[in-house]
Symmetry: D2
Subunit: 305 residues, 4 copies
């Protein structure tokens, strides 16, 4: 909105909240919230069911699960375990794990930029089994049924000279997984969500999202297999901070006045800047560990039909 | 400065600008600016000469040299060389290098936080000679006269359980250098200075400055040897961004109203956040290399009297 | 040879030397050596021309260029530049760069094991142009003709659950490069070659070679495009050291006696060990920089027909 | 000891074994071995009680505890916990922890060389309390009695231009700890001990020991406080491997013949090489974590008198 000062968010929850603030009900969008007081974990499922809902929300039809866990950036093993289990639970809802599946996990983002290194870290922590099963069969792992996991850290375009989607499409057509899980660091609108929110969606990863602003998306449409996107907001665009701080000042202006006001106000230097907590280096490590544990849990056993 | 929303800057240049904006001349403060158009490097020397000037500027008496080099975050070797030479030139003005000196370089900050890792990186890139001269004499290095350089990366209090000043005082009293050079990442007020400004001062490092907010300072008073501080702003406090964007709105309010207004406006979540450019990981590497080259140049020869 | 104590080497030069020591001329193998005294760089071209030669040498028909540069592990920029140029020169002999080519560079090996991280480091240092040309055309780079470079760090099987060859095949069939350059850390037979020898071959990468013992190879046969392999020996198997030290003792024994003798002598603990110089972490950085500069030089211009 | 081919070991246990092999009893040396079969941890205490014993063993009088834990390089959390407890148990024997003590942990070695980075990693994992107690008192930590822990990673001479002992002496005289714990990576004689043996001694760290060959030692004599040394062998000198493989061949020769034989046999290139397991990067991480947990356990409570 607001011309070039469109407030950017990769979180469906934040897109939804905009409407809540404005006391608008959105047709074609179902919201279901659950708060586990004991564990202090809040889970919101936003289901965009119609074309109309998709248009209103500015994102494709599908399920968007948001896990809000305020202590996610603190090194508390028991709490992180709870969150890993919550992640595993929702993955099992979105992916049919009743039969043995082959799962490719893609760690998006740039390892050399701390705030963008979540995806690569998650893949580093994952237990891969596909090569062991191919070599020794299930007996090699002492199991009767098992999912085959594989993973790739494709790098970003400036590092590889290739679109991430080209790399992933090539690997998918060669190794033929049943489902792709793509992990990415996201941009949020509000600093209060940074590093404490996990979004899981069955709509994949869409163009222009993520900290590093990937050009192409990873979706069922271009990969021809189901794509689950898992994201954590690790940054807020610096301009957004200024915008939001001035939000109620702006309420009294019409759209043209708002635009003029903000153009004057927001320094052009701000536009390549982002806001991040001081301890982002450490936090990204915890978070990626928690998510990879969630994946390890989800894929460690074949659900019984 | 607006109660608890005091705008924080570690740069004397920015403190000075405040007065310029307000068209006030500050007694006891001399300013001398030089712009090399060909090289596109601007150097400002702020000299605080009196107690009165120190009070007005909010920092101790002494010399504050600011080198503004807009292309400092771009990998252009020739440009970085020019900046290294500018750094070396000013170091030779502040430190008497006519006789052989023993120089201890201290890399302040937290290596595990990218924006705070400038000091450690500078020390990593430095050529150390003290141990070679002690072992083999100057002949070992094929020189007649030479400065002895040594360096330490003391870590931060949460990592060591000790004040940085305790560690440095201990090493200084044991190894007795003639001068200490302390390198630190700083907080600026304006995003336009991030990673393109180098401040050199003969007043040392003062309590509460730096990205990591060190508790104690490193000054001639507590170390009993001359202390040169070299800093580069790598972050802006997130709250400052909001404050500055609203600056001219605030002009119409009195101080109490301003305070009330800002307290409402600035989210408490913002206070552990900072603003940093997306490529800070890479930029800090270039910058630390340029500064360590400046030190290597300055200390590579004994100036002839 | 010697049963399970077969001395392992990934260098054609060392395979050739075995015959030299034994004063045997090998049919179907041509050797051409050139020593540049001024630069202190020795280049040996081993050309395996027949099936017979391939059998005798234990490696496929093709060209094997070995650059021996004794100062390669020392940080001397001028010397490294000479070696980069030598690498570029031989690449231009093996790959037809007269027309614009699309080149995919593959950095084999495990980034988490220093001695195996050469390939990944080379790709990190490369200038990628493919995505820029695709987006802006050649004008975007201010050139009339230009090669398109891209690169991938595929990881190793334990990290990805996939054969490296599956990943590379997928990317090759998606992005259709004209040539693949695969970089790998090798095992040598002799410690005196460690980190000072570069082997370039047009036969690709073969199964079971490399520090990490990749299972499948990367060859023209399985990728359907030309594959150049570039390798640097960074380790020697620990058992080889013992074997070679005892070589002339063994000369007096027949093969069965040798086998028995060695089985007794070489501790089973040795077999997961390798020998590496103490400064391998630093050396691998220099080496990878020199090789990536060689590639950057080779691909920076389109040779005129 | 074969002239210049003196077999080097930093482990008292290995020095002792030499005598065992030669069926010699050493006067002034007491040995006490304990094997916990269930846990598969063997602990040997070598006590050098007299000047004569010290001479025979080639190391100073004092206690040398060696914990041999074969699974130490495998990621088994329960097993590592057992080893951490064993480390804590022996530390409590060597250091009087009945009253509140101030403990400085020194992480020796070079972070940039994997095999030498054990000490720095241990300090990184330690819980520091000294600064919290100084700032808030014991109530700040919710305890009645507590030890004050601090730690330093001094770097190596080539990085700092200073002897490690100068840095540590300075910090000790400034912060006055009651005891210094110095952690170091060691060289072993036998590959079978690599990364599975922990040596704890109350004689400190002696000149010329360690992977990086520190020049000066850290002992009670030069620091004026008790010094505990904790070491793990992470490398074997490459020449030692060859020597030991040929040991029984050598038995038939007299000392002069042995020397001549070995001088011929051992390549001069071997002397800057070491033998290390392929997974040393990962193993050093596990090990350092286990040792730091041992220290955390030992210092987490004040023993009741």
């Amino acid at each position: 909105m607001l011309g070039s000062y469109r407030v950017r968010t990769d979180l469906a929850l934040e897109a939804r909240e905009r409407f809540t603030e404005e006391h608008v009900e959105v047709r074609g969008v179902e919201v279901c919230e659950d708060y586990n007081e004991e564990k202090d974990i809040r889970t919101t499922v936003v289901k965009i069911c119609t074309e109309n809902g998709a248009k209103a929300m500015g994102r494709p039809q599908g399920n968007y699960i948001t896990i809000e866990a305020p202590h996610l950036s603190i090194p508390d093993e028991d709490y992180h375990r709870e969150v890993s289990e919550e992640v595993a639970h929702h993955l099992r809802q979105l992916v049919d794990l009743k039969n043995e599946k082959s799962i490719l996990v893609v760690g998006l983002g740039n390892q050399a930029i701390t705030a963008d290194s979540l995806g690569p870290h998650v893949v580093e922590n994952l237990k891969m089994t596909r090569h062991i099963i191919r070599e020794y069969g299930l007996k090699g792992l002492g199991e009767e049924h098992m999912h085959r996991t594989s993973g790739i850290i494709p790098g970003v375009m400036a590092q590889t000279g290739m679109e991430t989607s080209e790399i992933v499409e090539g690997i998918v057509s060669e190794t033929k997984p049943d489902v792709v899980i793509a992990i990415d660091a996201l941009a949020a609108r509000s600093v209060k969500r940074l590093n404490r929110t996990i979004q899981i969606t069955d709509t994949g990863i869409h163009p222009g999202s993520g900290v590093g602003n990937h050009r192409n998306g990873l979706t069922e449409e271009n990969l021809q297999v189901k794509v689950i996107g898992i994201g954590v907001p690790t940054v807020v665009d610096a301009a957004t901070i200024v915008h939001d701080s001035m939000a109620h000042l702006l309420d009294t202006l019409d759209e043209a006045e708002q635009k003029e006001f903000l153009e004057e106000m927001i320094s052009p230097h701000l536009h390549s800047m982002f806001v991040t907590p001081k301890d982002v280096d450490e936090t990204v490590k915890y978070l990626s560990f928690t998510i990879s544990e969630g994946l390890n849990l989800a894929f460690s056993r074949v659900d019984e039909g």
